[in-house]
Amino acid sequence: MKARPTIRQALALASTLAILAAVTGCHKNKSGVNPASLGPAPAAPAAAPTAAITADPLAIDLGQSVVLNWRTQNATVVTIDGIGEVPANGTQTVAPSSSTNFHLTAKGDGGSTEANVRVTVRVPVAPTAPAPETDMTSEALFKQNVKDAFFDFDSYELRPDAAAATAGAATFLLAHPTLKIVIGGYADERGSAEYNLALGENRANAARTALVNAGVPANRLRVISFGKEKQFCTESNEECWQQNRRAQFSIDR
């Protein structure tokens, strides 16, 4: 049979809680304790959090990394956009693919505060294309500005040219905030079909991660792996295989 708490037990429990509340309350709080309160004692007005973030160096070439260093006080939850929740104090090495504002938010009992540092990434700029025609469709504009990312053999790491391509795609997407895209992952004809689908998935996700890190909202990006089931080029030579090892950006309709 299940024992139902008796009135006596309930009273004992309540009084224990009240005593506990009084004891813990006395440490922090000189004012009287409300004996009716069985929950945690109310805390004193907490100090407002402070936060500072620095980056070293402040400007890098594409592919290099910077060390972020942050200090906060009186904060319970510290987050950095694009990185997520982080310890109250810490350092992290990041390699942004484009110039990035690292935005730190520190939330504490006494409110929240923010700190920013901007890391400038010097991206090698291709010769600018002639100014787009005014009657150019968005598709043509997209094709002109967004280039696919290509990968090394059996690799899904973004190499510098692929990082530049994703940075370019990120810039275009940030300038066209309503555009949604599909990132297609592809592999060359060598290797096995099932493994290549997984490899294509990793390639597309590497490009997606770079776009998210550059500030493109994840809900505008969709990933589909085609592995070697769809090919751009069907010759059996390295030039052709390179064409097929890619993350393709296309407009999601």
């Binding site: 096995s192 689908l197 997984a198 996700n205 059996s236």
Partner: protein
Amino acid sequence: MLRSTRTPIAHSARQLRQWIAALALLLVTTSGLHAQDWFKTETSSGASNIRIAVADFKPSLADAQTAALKSTFDATLYSDLANAGIFDIVSKSLQPQTTPGTPNEISLPQWSNAPTSAAMVAFGALGVQGGKVTVNGYLFDAKNTQYPQVLAKQYSEDPSEESARQIAHRFADEIIFRLGGGVPGIAETKIFYVKLGGGTKEIWAMDYDGANQHPITKLGTVSISPRISPDNTRVAFSSLGNDGFQIRMFSLLLGRMVNFPSSGGGTNLSPAWAPSGKELAYSSSRTGDPEIWISDVNGGLSRRITSFRGPDVSPVYNPRSGSQIAWISARSTGLPQLYIMDTDGSAITRMTDGGYASSPSWSPNGQFLTFAWDRKYGPGAPGGRDIYVMEIATKRWIQLTHDIGPCDFPSWSPDGRHIVFANAADGKDAHMKIWTMLADGTQRRALTGPGADMPNWSWK
């Protein structure tokens, strides 16, 4: 350390047990040898398969249909026994001219004496009467003149080419079961595969001998990796839709697609049935990285069992225990390797020591893995992707295919004596054919024409 144990061998098999025993023995006794691509043992000259003669059946009635059905039946029975891998089959040119239809009509010395020299004789009669094709089949021990009868079977079906073939398969399986150490024959099993056509890939099925090739799906997209359920009722596969590749399910009982919800997102591919038929393992990238997941057969109760960055694909259950999974992973190394683990994700063991491994299939007795392996994979490397068999306990392997171009997707037959796989000399999808061979690499022959890929042998 594996270097000293690489011992590729090739020898012909008589029975599954003998094959395994011989393999284990040879692997032990030759463990001091260095790696060799070709290694011929002399067991093929010592192990004698049962010599069996298959008489053309006697037309029992002069029905118009009989001749055509008998021709199909005779060819199928001969082919089934010749391909079983346990017989030394007597060439038809060495047989007596007679076609005994009943036990009274056979003269056994005719069959047991040279040049026929048969130990066993299969014979009987076939005829169409009253809208039924009736077959009486016998198996006689040619050396046992007093009590020669080993088997006597009667079959009656609606007359058609298909039923003549199926009766021959069933009679062959009876003979193989009786003479093959009690291991059921595979003449009634099916092979599911991918058929290319006009930019699409559909799931097809055929009999184990390549006959009766027919489509299962008509989805008009790219469908790959068919896996038949252990009870032959459903085919799980992966199909390209608007949301990428997802696991799909076709019911062979209902003759249509059935729901397999892909709730988790990401790419989902390479399904594998647990031998219980109650769970599926597959690769899912719902976390952003392809990992091995297990769900129930309705796609529910999903749980992840691997967690390493990089591709994890192509799981296959140990069909004997159901408690282990072999799969392909590129964790820690750049190139995909063969691993095994328990179904809870523990006890991870790497099986291959390099190269590029793909597409494992687990032997029915649980002791061996077959898989495709390119041991010298890399840009500019002259390696070839061939079919290998590895003994799990020792990680020793033998190479089954040589110099025929890229091979992939080996799948073990339920009797463990055969392996079906895909191959094309130039490795191009459009030229891929499905081939079968004995599990020691001998008796290789094509089952399909070009444009057939990813075979999966039924469980029974």
